[in-house]
């Protein structure tokens, strides 16, 4: 076993990452630990949103449709969290997969729930494909540096889950 220890020590030293060479060079991929792929989309009610413009803030990108029951169920919790933490630098983008939905149904649902955060319209499913969206709802928690830190596939997310993830990322900026 001694030889294993000696070899292990040599291997640990030789395989260490030099300070000039980052251990991982994350490109933009929809995966924890990587930079969030950038996008620009039209907003419901007018205007546009670009993800990279939100750098410096904690962002929740929530993929949803108005016909998806768990999406509808978790929306009030997202709204409540948004209202509680927006002054601290928290932003939500409700990313509607409009290619699978209708703008009228989206507008009605947003009004019904009283959603105040921006609703982005992915009319061509471009962002859905970019984020390899396979299930609804799916939520990406993005830190102030634009790195995806947590991905929640499926729902509905509990209020505690959303708030704990947001608090964790907000604390990092303190």
């Amino acid at each position: 076993m001694t030889w294993a220890l000696v070899l292990g020590m040599i291997w640990t030293v030789t395989s260490r990452v030099s300070s000039t060479q980052p251990q991982a060079q994350p490109g933009a991929v929809a995966k924890e630990g990587f930079s969030a792929p950038d996008f620009t989309l039209d907003l419901l009610g007018g205007g546009k949103v670009t993800l990279s413009d939100l750098r410096g803030k904690v962002v929740l990108v929530n993929f949803w449709t108005s016909w998806c029951p768990p999406c509808r169920l978790e929306m009030p919790a997202i709204e409540k969290t948004y209202r509680s933490y927006k002054e601290l630098g928290f932003v939500v983008i409700g990313l509607n997969l409009t290619a699978q939905d209708s703008e009228r149904a989206v507008a009605e649902f947003v009004k019904e729930i009283g959603v105040t955060f921006p609703i982005a319209l992915d009319r061509d499913n471009e962002v859905g494909n970019l984020y390899r969206n396979t299930a609804l709802p799916t939520s990406f928690f993005i830190d102030r540096n634009g790195v995806i830190r947590s991905v929640i596939v499926g729902g509905p997310m509990s209020e505690a889950l959303i708030q704990s993830k947001v608090e964790e990322l907000l604390r990092e900026g303190e």
Binding site: M1, W11, R16, A24, V153, E159, S164
Partner: protein, 248 residues
């Protein structure tokens, strides 16, 4: 990579399924080994159960404790089915504590019990590798080796396959040869040492290592510490004549 399987309105998490299957098969190996070592099978099963339940509860409670104000305001969040609100370290520590407490109270012999757990734990390591392969986690460093696989926008070492391969080697080749009947507990310690060696070797191919000062990979340093701990323990047992030399 095959993280989810849609079954109507349900989304089956394949990595979690791999772990559950690994746990179930591992438990049967433990039961068989417990019988072979003359231990009470029922008590060993209970020990696993206490460890599992303690681990799940501990993982959730430790996570909730980190965000106490959130969970005090929304206590129902404690019952969420989401695995993303678990503290893995908290679950590990409390799970082991719960199992240890049960074993102590039931007067289960520590070393023999650990030996009985070894084949099951070894099989579970294969399941962990499979879980990583299905989720795409524990991914490899970018590489241009001919067997590199395309994952997360780059060609990478198939670190998950390396992990499964080494776990299989330990389970099928090495483990059956480690039966020092006169040295209770040695089999378990040797298994832990082997896992530590495997971690030190495999971590070099990972693309998501946590780095410590000067670019050392945390898992490799921890692996070496565990290996040294195992060697010290085995040496001590050898010196006190508790078993024949197994360090050579």
């Amino acid at each position: 990579m095959f993280p989810y399987l849609r079954l109507g309105p349900f989304l089956l998490q394949m990595p979690l399924l791999a772990l559950v299957i690994g746990f179930w098969i591992g438990a049967t190996f433990i039961e068989r080994e417990a019988a072979r070592l003359g231990l009470n099978k029922e008590k060993i099963n209970n020990l696993i159960g206490y460890g599992l339940v303690g681990g799940i509860l501990g993982a959730r409670l430790v996570y909730a404790a980190q965000y106490a104000s959130v969970y005090l305001a929304n206590p129902l969040g404690l019952f969420s089915l989401s695995t993303s609100t678990f503290s893995p370290v908290g679950g590990f520590v409390i799970g082991i504590a719960a199992a240890a407490l049960y074993g102590y109270r039931q007067k289960l012999p520590l070393r023999q019990t650990l030996d009985a757990l070894t084949p099951g734990l070894s099989f579970f390591m294969i399941a962990i590798g499979a879980s990583h392969l299905l989720s795409g986690n524990a991914y490899g460093a970018p590489s241009r080796v001919p067997w590199a696989m395309y994952l997360w926008s780059d060609y990478r070492h198939p670190s998950q396959l390396y992990e499964i391969f080494l776990a299989l080697v330990i389970f099928t080749v090495v483990l059956p040869k480690m039966i020092p009947a006169n040295a209770p507990g040695a089999r378990f310690v040797q298994f832990v040492a082997l896992i530590a060696v495997a971690r030190v070797f495999l971590e070099a191919f990972r693309g998501d290592s946590i780095l410590w000062l000067d670019g050392y990979r945390a898992a490799q340093v921890m692996g070496l510490v565990v290996l040294i701990g195992c060697m010290v323990l085995l040496r001590q047992w050898e010196r006190t004549g508790q078993h024949e030399s197994i360090l050579k």
